[in-house]
Assembly symmetry: C2
Homo-oligomer: 425 residues x 2
């Protein structure tokens, strides 16, 4: 595996994440970064200012560079820089959804003609692995439909309108204050951002060139708190859905607009800034990929992923699928279940007499185990009661000792169930 | 791209799906298939019986074959056949979770020594793209935790116990009758199947060799209907969770057991036979991949995907990332929004007088539009009422005409909202 040399265009939020992420990889070297202002303070430790230049064109013309990573966004100068890079024999990694939506066909054709690749995992749905899986491990499929939540800002607003029974205007203002929405939110709330992403995603999924101007687009600014209330009553959530479907071999239905989505679907439960893509095809049926759709580090995961894949392929000629090899994993000690730390759900049958819950609480406290919930669920004919407990985090051997003690002390007649509780929230 | 020659071992459910799927790919040729009984009737049209042999060893010894696809499952004779294939210079694709869990280390080492790859996307979580994304586009990440639903049978049983407030025994019996559970359900319900899958998934995710015998395992047979009821009351679902976490660089916590999962997580909403894997790492944060965990075609998607990826790499030396190239997508007509077919949510303000709903229904019926739901939501001070409608599927231009007509006829004072309804169920 040879060492590859990277030239980066831009050093904003995502680019900083890429820079920090790639520092751990020995076979990748960032040799030059184009910025607007060399002296601007940046959130990167020990950044060598000699890496920086204000002359982006000098980077795409630098013969020693193998791969250009474009992270400035927008059409120009990104388009000219990428075009020049390809003509100069470089591969390109980009997260530029607008450029790909508006000029993807032309740029991909140019790359193909020059035997170069353009990778763009970071351009669509941030950190979610999407483009590479569709192009590789899902390649057996004919994909017929994409349904996706591709914009975090609008999903954040719709989720908050739902949770807080609040109006669009109030939630937008709050989102702007928190930095989840721009001062001018048009690109997000009117669906432009989602439509850009959908243009490229639909093109590679349906294997049909979908033009950005053919995509019907409608934003969320007219969705009311009442609409969301009625949606809930009827078994739905409202989401800004990016939809692309091949209705026959020559016709596609491609659009971005708010949609009632049944609560029985995975998409209905994708909340706040999370993105998700449901892919329908044959032979796979349906898969849903969800995760962070934006942000410094999630998007850096995708951009760095593209770069790492390229780094394994450049210069490799006699070695098939280097990345799919056995990784000679190192050994590790696996924790005994008694030493694991969990919350616990306990269903106990106890005698229905005064002070049982108190004694139970004291014995738990003695072992350092806090109780998060205690519910008494009725009294039976035999004068026993069912007590339901959820503990805070504790060691399995400690909770087992407590149960043993509770039984010996006659506090509980029977342990009906003990189930571990995932510590997700 | 050269044409690759495949030898298949086994022609059961998944193998049949693989056979049917690969028929569409010109560069892949299945030249021989090992079966137990050549004359057994099979659900494959025009199967050439000359492809079949009962001598599996003759396939792994066949010099003309590039790739062995092992789909018989179990340890032997699969292990001997795969070992011989690798020693004979062949790449291997397998969906054999038990073999990889018990002998993966040895087999991967052998492949590495012989400069061959073993691909196994179909062995874990059926159709969900998982292994290849983890090894390629997610390669920038240090994965710290896997939480997964890896067994469809147990998830089907737990979902039904929840939905129907039924006992484990009753639901198991029903699942057996429907073919979702085996006559002897032990491998599924006691967590062996999930543990096999977790052994390999944890190994490649955490980059630590996780041995199957180190995995704590507990099944779902002791989960009661009451446990599920209390879980719901407390904001949880119960799922059979495969959990693997690197607690420090030398210690892993790896186990399969029932778990309370907060309803705020994606995993809580993965129902019936669907599988899902939540991956936590840096820089990505958290992604969840969900889809069909088993079945003829979903698993065939993964097995065929592995084969197609190999077919693009074998014999390719001077061409980087052939699968990530522009696909020269063909053009397509994009349907005008007026010609799309949807269900519609309508929020209407109407005069509060007798017969308005009736007239509204008649005008819709005239245009061939059926109404799925009609709700009247109270009367305002100005003697108007709010009517909420969800229609059945109809053309957008037809519903717009109906709304226009309703306004002209004075049936509705105001269209407050019109939102399209996804036709998912």
């Amino acid at each position: 595996m040879s060492k590859i040399k990277i030239g980066m265009i831009g050093l904003g939020t995502v680019a900083s994440g890429v820079f920090k992420t790639l520092q751990d990889f020995d076979n990748i070297e960032i040799v030059k970064i184009a910025v607007r202002d060399i002296n601007k303070p940046r959130n990167i430790e020990n950044l060598d200012k000699n890496l920086l230049t204000t002359d982006a064109m000098s980077i795409v013309n630098d013969k020693s560079i193998d791969v250009i990573v474009e992270l400035i966004g927008g059409v120009e100068p990104a388009k000219t820089l990428i075009t020049t890079a390809i003509l100069n024999g470089k591969h390109v990694v980009t997260a530029n959804k607008e450029l790909l939506a508006k000029h993807g066909e032309e740029l991909f054709d140019l790359a193909e003609k020059n035997n170069k690749v353009i990778l763009y995992e970071g351009a669509i749905a941030g950190g979610i692995p999407l483009i590479m899986p569709i192009k590789t491990i899902l390649a057996a499929n004919k994909i017929s439909k994409i349904e996706a939540i591709l914009n975090g800002t609008t999903n954040y607003i719709l989720t908050n309108m739902d949770m807080k029974h609040a109006s669009y205007d109030d939630v937008l203002k709050e989102a702007q204050n928190l930095g989840y929405a721009e001062a001018d939110p048009t690109a997000d709330v009117e669906g432009f951002d989602a439509a850009y992403k959908l243009a490229t995603l639909a093109t590679i999924s349906l294997n049909k060139r979908i033009k950005i101007n053919d995509i019907y687009r409608e934003g969320i600014s007219k969705v009311t708190a009442d609409d969301i209330k009625y949606a809930n009553e009827l078994g739905y959530k409202i989401k800004l859905i990016a939809h692309a479907e091949l209705t026959d071999e020559n016709t596609a239905d491609v659009r971005v607009h708010p949609m009632f989505v049944s609560k029985s679907t995975t998409l209905a439960h994708i909340d706040y800034v999370t993105n998700a893509v449901t892919i329908t095809g044959f032979p796979i049926g349906q898969v849903t990929l969800s995760g962070p759709g934006a942000g410094e580090f999630p998007t850096a995961s995708s951009v760095a992923g593209d770069i790492i894949v390229l780094s394994h392929e450049i210069g490799t000629t006699d070695y098939i699928l280097p990345m799919m090899r056995c990784n000679h994993s190192s050994s590790v000690k696996v924790t005994n279940i008694l030493d694991t730390v969990n919350k616990y759900y306990l269903s106990l049958t106890v005698s229905n007499k005064v002070g049982v819950i108190g004694k139970l609480g004291l014995i738990c406290a003695d072992k350092g185990i806090s109780l998060a919930s205690v519910l008494q669920k009725g009294v039976s004919d035999d004068n026993t009661a069912n007590i339901i407990i959820i503990t805070e985090l504790c060691k399995e051997k400690d909770i087992l000792e407590v149960i043993d003690l509770l039984q010996k002390e006659g506090c509980i007649n029977k342990l009906n169930s003990m189930i571990r509780v995932a510590n997700d929230v």
